[in-house]
């Protein structure tokens, strides 16, 4: 058992994957010195410039090259410095990586991992704080993984690298240093597409992922003091969604709060709500409630504007309390 931050857990997964398989390469901006968040620190020394290398500042170019390297028999892990800067590469990801296997009737799967830090709470302003998972979750052919804990970050990144298909691996930048936890040395392998129950309870289900999982758990803690027992489900993967786990949570409580930092409209919450409405309607004892970022372009830079944007334990608890009383 080793105690690690999320950043350390991701670095550890990269190191282990590269030790186990010499097809694994790491490329992106500034990755040779460790990247902006020091996640890839030490990899260049251990694995050399053939397998860890800086690219020109051109996301479409190096994501496209990652796709080519994957087709050519490697297992590239591409780092995007901030998910906000992934947009130039969306054409490569949506037109090429996502469709290549289907359109070639299975001849050309693309075993590519694109890692990107997302989310706010670190004074990143408009262009260093966004959550863009819903854009990618909408695209058939892409898998979108969003771990919340160090153990999941490590196990799911290893699973993503071993996966035959393109995986968008989104890391909440606030969890990098703030979330520290034990990671077993013999970490069991994780499966992409599997949610996990973080807390059991019968009154209200809170469904979340990423940093917001931790806010949801804090809210559940507060509510327990008032005698409201919350079940907290960590989705871990937003594409594909774990339909059965979501329906179980809804059936077991009859009341559901969905929490994400991303904007409300068109977010993952809408899809989760639709799944519940279709598959567990008869079990519901109240409206499905969403707690999410507001529909403004992004959070502000000033801490007051940032806090006004981000959902937190207090807002989640208030929503769950109201729903419990419904």
């Amino acid at each position: 058992m080793t105690t690690m931050t999320v950043a350390e857990a991701i670095g550890s997964a990269l190191r282990e994957a590269m030790q186990a398989d010499d097809r694994v390469i790491v490329l992106g901006e500034d990755v040779e010195v460790g990247g902006v968040f020091r996640v890839t620190q030490g990899l260049l020394d251990e694995f050399g410039p053939q397998r860890v290398f800086d690219t020109p500042l051109a996301e479409s170019g190096f994501v496209g090259a990652g796709i080519g390297a994957a087709l050519g028999g490697l297992r590239p892990v591409v780092e995007i410095q901030f998910v906000d800067f992934i947009l130039p590469a969306v054409n490569q990801l949506i037109s090429e990586a996502a469709k290549m296997c289907w359109r070639s009737a299975g001849a050309w799967p693309v075993p590519l991992v694109v890692r990107a830090p997302y989310g706010g709470g670190v004074h990143g302003g408009l262009s260093h704080s966004q959550s863009l998972e819903a854009l990618f979750a909408h695209v058939p052919g892409l898998k979108v993984v969003m771990p919340a804990t160090p153990a999941d970050a490590k196990a799911l990144l290893l699973a993503a690298i071993a996966d035959p298909d393109p995986v968008i691996f989104l890391e909440h930048k606030r969890t990098y240093r703030f979330i520290r936890d034990e990671v077993p040395d013999d970490l069991p392998p994780a499966r992409i597409g599997e949610a996990t129950l973080r807390r059991d309870g019968d009154d209200v289900a809170i469904i979340s992922y990423g940093l917001m999982l931790h806010e949801s758990l804090a809210a559940a803690e507060q509510l327990a003091e008032d005698g409201i027992d919350c079940r907290v489900l960590d989705l871990r993967t937003v594409a594909p969604l774990d339909r059965e786990a979501i329906l179980d949570a809804a059936r077991g409580t009859g009341k559901v709060v969905i929490v994400h930092e991303d904007h409300l409209t068109g977010g993952i919450g809408g899809e989760v709500a639709a799944l519940i409405a279709e598959g567990a309607f008869a079990h519901l004892d109240g409206p499905i409630v969403r707690v999410a970022g507001p529909d403004v372009p992004a959070m502000g830079y000033h801490h007051a504007l940032e806090e006004a944007f981000m959902p937190n334990a207090a807002r989640i608890a208030a929503a769950a309390r109201e729903l419990a009383a419904y």
């Binding site: 390469i25 479409s60 170019g61 080519g68 390297a69 994957a70 087709l71 490569q92 090429e96 009737a105």
Partner: protein
């Protein structure tokens, strides 16, 4: 002689595709009629199954030279389940072959350049002396991905050859609307890459130029950009009418420079080919295309129940 035959076959396939479209038997076709010397000449300098190829949608001549068959192409135009490119999922001329190292192509223009750079990177890292050849029209060189891919390959000194098939038009837009320079090859200097302009209708010149670029790439000399000046003698696709944007006089001028006729004359002059033999080969090529067409027409169509298959790899 073999290359002339490949050019001839590519032309016949393209012509037949257009006829099938006009007969209402193929909803959409596109071809590279007029580009045959560029396509066959460059592809002939590559090693099938070893070198990576990212052709674009005009490249019937490239894929035939790399080893796709006329049967494959006729299955493709009918979008049959057994067509090797996409099993009927993509429009015709969106190439793919695992054995021939031709990764699946999309209709999006420019994305193939960074992908080809990545293929070249993989070959280099794995210690193979394969090269990657990527094909694009001059219109496609306006895309950011053209720049990003070529720059990536230049910085990493990758074995990449970019073949620009410059036919002077991006659908309806003449080259003057696409760029202010005359030669796309001038752009290569901006990446520290060798840029070469060739007469794209001169088969042997194209072949020799490509051969040299491939040799340099294999020896670690980095990328080359080859701009082949040519002309498409048909509309952009079956949905285009080229009378709206170019004169018949211009078209006529280029038909006189036809690469197949031109090389036929060379072969005749050198005594390698006789008129009778050439005519016979042409007739045989027609017959080969029609026979393949008949087989393809009878091949199974895609089963609607397979629509959801192959979203992901690995697991069935």
């Amino acid at each position: 002689m073999e290359l002339w035959h490949l050019m001839l076959l590519a032309r016949k396939v393209g012509e037949r595709w257009f006829t099938l479209n006009r007969q209402g038997r193929a909803p959409f076709v596109i071809s590279g009629q007029g580009h045959e010397a560029t396509q066959v000449g460059t592809a002939a300098a590559l090693t099938p199954g070893k070198d990576w190829v990212m052709p674009y949608y005009r490249d019937i001549g490239v894929v035939l030279t790399m080893g796709m068959t006329v049967d494959d192409l006729m299955l493709d135009v009918f979008a049959k389940a057994t067509n090797p490119n996409s099993a009927g999922r993509q429009m015709p001329a969106h190439w793919s072959s695992k054995e021939l190292r031709i990764p699946s192509q999309s209709s999006v223009v420019g994305t193939q350049v960074p992908i080809a750079a990545g293929l070249a990177w993989a070959a280099k890292l794995r210690g193979e002396d394969s090269v990657a050849a990527v094909y694009i029209g001059e219109g496609g060189t306006s895309q950011g991905d053209f720049h990003e891919g070529l720059n990536f390959a230049a910085v990493q000194r990758l074995p990449l050859i970019v073949v620009v098939e410059n036919n002077g038009y991006a659908i309806t837009e003449a080259q003057e609307k696409e760029m202010v320079i005359r030669d796309v090859a001038d752009r290569a200097a901006g990446y520290g890459v060798n840029g070469v302009v060739v007469d794209g209708n001169d088969l042997l010149l194209v072949y020799r130029t490509m051969q040299q670029a491939v040799q340099e790439a294999r020896m670690g000399g980095g990328p080359t950009l080859i701009e082949a000046k040519t002309y498409r003698t048909t509309p952009h696709s079956s949905d285009d009418d080229d009378r709206r944007y170019r004169t018949r006089e211009e078209l006529e001028l280029w038909i006189q420079r036809d690469p197949i006729d031109r090389f036929r004359r060379n072969l005749l002059d050198d005594g390698i080919l006789s008129d009778e033999h050439a005519d016979q080969l042409s007739t045989e090529a027609d017959e080969e295309v029609r026979a393949a067409e008949a087989r393809a027409a009878a091949a199974p169509d895609p089963d609607p129940a397979t629509l959801l298959d192959h979203l992901f790899g690995g697991a069935p």
